[in-house]
């Protein structure tokens, strides 16, 4: 089972590689990847350096081109595929079928993975991507219960990668328009959810308010940690109550499911967090490396190590973790 870790910057890449990632994933500094935040991502020179370091430690480099070009912007995505190929990366993570088709025809020797943004949840959808574009792996959206993942793993024509740890996207990925509804910019088109240029913070007598393009997403009391205002994690009024109507700020943590994921033949687990600090990436990578190594040595071993769980909880959003959709109770 491979450990796939986030690299939002060169220092984060070094931390991931040095702490035992089997692969790191990164993006170019533009809208061709779904974490197009200012200050993140890689220039060609940085990718060259990152590749050399990763190669020296036996770690692979994946490039995420996981957004959706509209017709007028297709050439930019095609150029990004060529650029990644010229740099000599190991794998392209692609969401959109025109981009995938181009990569398959022009650079067939580079492995293609279906991004989580490609939104495939069934054997039929996976078969389409496999037969049309020759994908070798797919990342599953965070909407399936563990039993459903198990069932899919038994039927899938390609390797599967699942999310292991990090921020929890509660909507089926690649098909969520909450961000563009409020700001005009979405993960699919602009590579960003709730972009920072639309966020306004204000201290008021009633508490600290967080707005997105003028819409009040949340208001925090003096002693409350104030989370970043993404639409799905705000507090709203529904039927007379005010609460986190869609989801609390919390992180996904599937460490306790790791033996089951391994037993069902999941090819890789993915750590979310290209927007997180190098220290975060290093710590999370180290813990998951240890857990996977322990399981590889003995499939019956327990990885529910208290110390690991405490450390992961400390690093989580709102210091809360959840098994999310993997457990029926969350659903």
């Amino acid at each position: 089972m491979k450990l796939v870790c986030p690299a939002g910057s060169l220092p984060a890449l070094y931390e991931a590689v040095n702490n035992g990632a089997d692969a790191v994933y990164l993006g170019f500094r533009d809208a061709t990847n779904a974490r197009a935040f200012p200050g993140l991502n890689f220039s060609d020179r940085e990718i060259d350096k990152g590749l050399a370091h990763a190669r020296s430690r036996g770690c692979q480099v994946y490039v995420a081109l996981n957004t959706y070009p509209t017709s007028d912007r297709l050439d930019q995505w095609y150029s990004a595929v060529d650029r990644a190929a010229d740099l000599g990366v190991d794998t392209l993570i692609i969401a959109e079928m025109a981009v995938m088709d181009f990569a398959a025809r022009k650079h067939p020797h580079i492995r293609r993975h279906l991004s989580v943004q490609g939104s495939a949840t069934t054997p039929a959808a996976l078969r389409f991507y496999h037969e049309q574009f020759g994908i070798s792996r797919a990342v599953l959206p965070r909407v399936l219960a563990i039993g459903q993942v198990e069932h899919l793993a038994g039927q899938s024509p390609v390797e599967l990668e699942v999310f292991a740890f990090g921020s929890l996207c509660i909507m089926v990925e690649g098909r969520c328009q909450l961000s563009s509804y409020v700001t005009g910019k979405s993960p699919n088109v602009a590579g960003v959810c709730s972009p920072a240029e639309f966020v306004q913070w204000e201290d008021t007598p009633a508490g600290k308010t967080a707005r997105l393009n003028g819409v009040l997403i949340d208001r925090f009391a003096a002693d409350e940690p104030a989370g970043y205002p993404v639409v799905c994690k705000g507090r709203y009024r529904v039927g007379g109550q005010t609460f986190h109507a869609l989801e609390e700020p919390t992180s996904l943590n599937t460490l306790e499911l790791l033996p089951r994921l391994k037993a069902m033949g999941i090819a890789a687990v993915k750590i979310e967090g290209r927007q997180r600090s190098p220290a975060y990436v290093g710590t999370v990578t180290r813990i998951w490396r240890q857990a996977i190594d322990r399981l590889e040595a003995s499939p019956q071993a327990s990885v529910n190590e208290q110390e690991w769980q405490q450390e992961l909880t400390r690093l989580s959003e709102g210091h809360q973790v959840t098994l999310g959709p993997y457990q029926r109770a969350w659903q």
């Binding site: 007028d72 389409f128 049309q132 005009g184 009040l216 009024r237």
Partner: protein
């Protein structure tokens, strides 16, 4: 341009649903989409019921298309989609790429719904090779993208699909594993007790300043504002929309349809109060 009635996104009691479509049979709608697109637990109507309705509406002169789920999680849901694809009489609207693949294997033409994510002309071409004859524009795209998609397809040569645009209704913004409507009353999805049947137009989500913001509809989040492009009909025609989609809402649908018919005949009309329409002109979807 033609008018279509999109699939019913809400969970209405059986009799209300049947009455609604009886009323729609007499309306000037070219196409009517039927079936459950949001939650597989909603079973007031069986596939047999939907098929009976489909035959009645077809006999009344409408093109009928059977729509499928937007998010497919369980093997049983995929099997249900297979039965719909294999209905033998009516074409299918694919809510998800899974149904695209089922149609491709069966050699059947299909409509790509808004959940299929057809963002550019090359993707449209790939889907046309798989059998797509009509596509619904992804909800966050507007006039410019529609125009450039059509221009790209024309440049390549070959046939064009029909383009359908959401012209009226709450915008389907996202889908989740969890049921928000059940969760709001402290229940999980497995114990939902069909809470959404009590919310025939979804349930309003307001900000803490009481601004109507979103609309919960089971596992789906919609816009609170109704997208109404009735006053932009000429522009939709110029940009190359072939079909205008009207989603059922729990209000006076006959009046809404009449307004679109008037707009199509060139009469000036005013969009409904509090409506939104930003996506069409490249602005945030919630802009008016």
């Amino acid at each position: 341009m033609k008018l279509s009635l999109g699939p019913l996104q809400y969970f209405w009691p059986r009799e209300k649903t049947l009455d609604f479509y009886r009323a729609m049979a007499g309306q000037p709608l070219d196409t009517i989409y039927l079936g459950e697109t949001v939650c597989s637990k909603r079973r007031e109507l069986s596939l047999d019921d939907w098929m009976r309705l489909a035959r009645d509406l077809h006999a009344a002169g409408h093109e009928v298309v059977l729509s499928t789920l937007t998010l497919i999680e369980a093997a049983s849901e995929l099997s249900a989609c297979k039965r719909i694809v294999g209905n033998g009489s009516f074409p299918v609207e694919a809510g998800d790429l899974s149904v695209v693949e089922l149609c491709r294997q069966a050699g059947l033409d299909f409509v790509a719904g808004p959940g299929v994510n057809t963002y550019n002309h090359q993707a449209a071409r790939i889907l046309m090779r798989a059998g797509m004859r009509r596509m619904v524009l992804p909800v966050e795209l507007g006039r410019e993208q529609l125009e450039s998609m059509k221009a790209g397809l024309r440049e390549d040569g070959g046939e064009l699909p029909e383009f359908e645009v959401l012209a009226y209704g709450r915008i389907p913004l996202s889908h989740s594993a969890r049921c928000f409507t059940a969760r709001a009353v402290g229940r999980g999805k497995d114990q939902c007790q069909f809470e959404c049947i009590h919310h025939p137009d979804g349930q309003r989500v307001r900000t803490r300043e009481d601004q109507p913001f979103l609309n919960m509809n089971g596992i789906q989040i919609q816009s609170a504002g109704i997208q109404d492009l009735s006053s932009h009909v000429q522009e939709l025609a110029t940009a190359g929309a072939d079909i205008l989609r009207i989603y059922p809402q729990d209000n006076d649908m006959e009046k809404t349809i009449e307004r679109f018919v008037q707009a199509l005949s060139g009469e000036p009309v005013t969009a409904s109060a509090d409506s939104v329409g930003g996506y069409w002109r490249g602005a945030p979807g919630m802009a008016d």
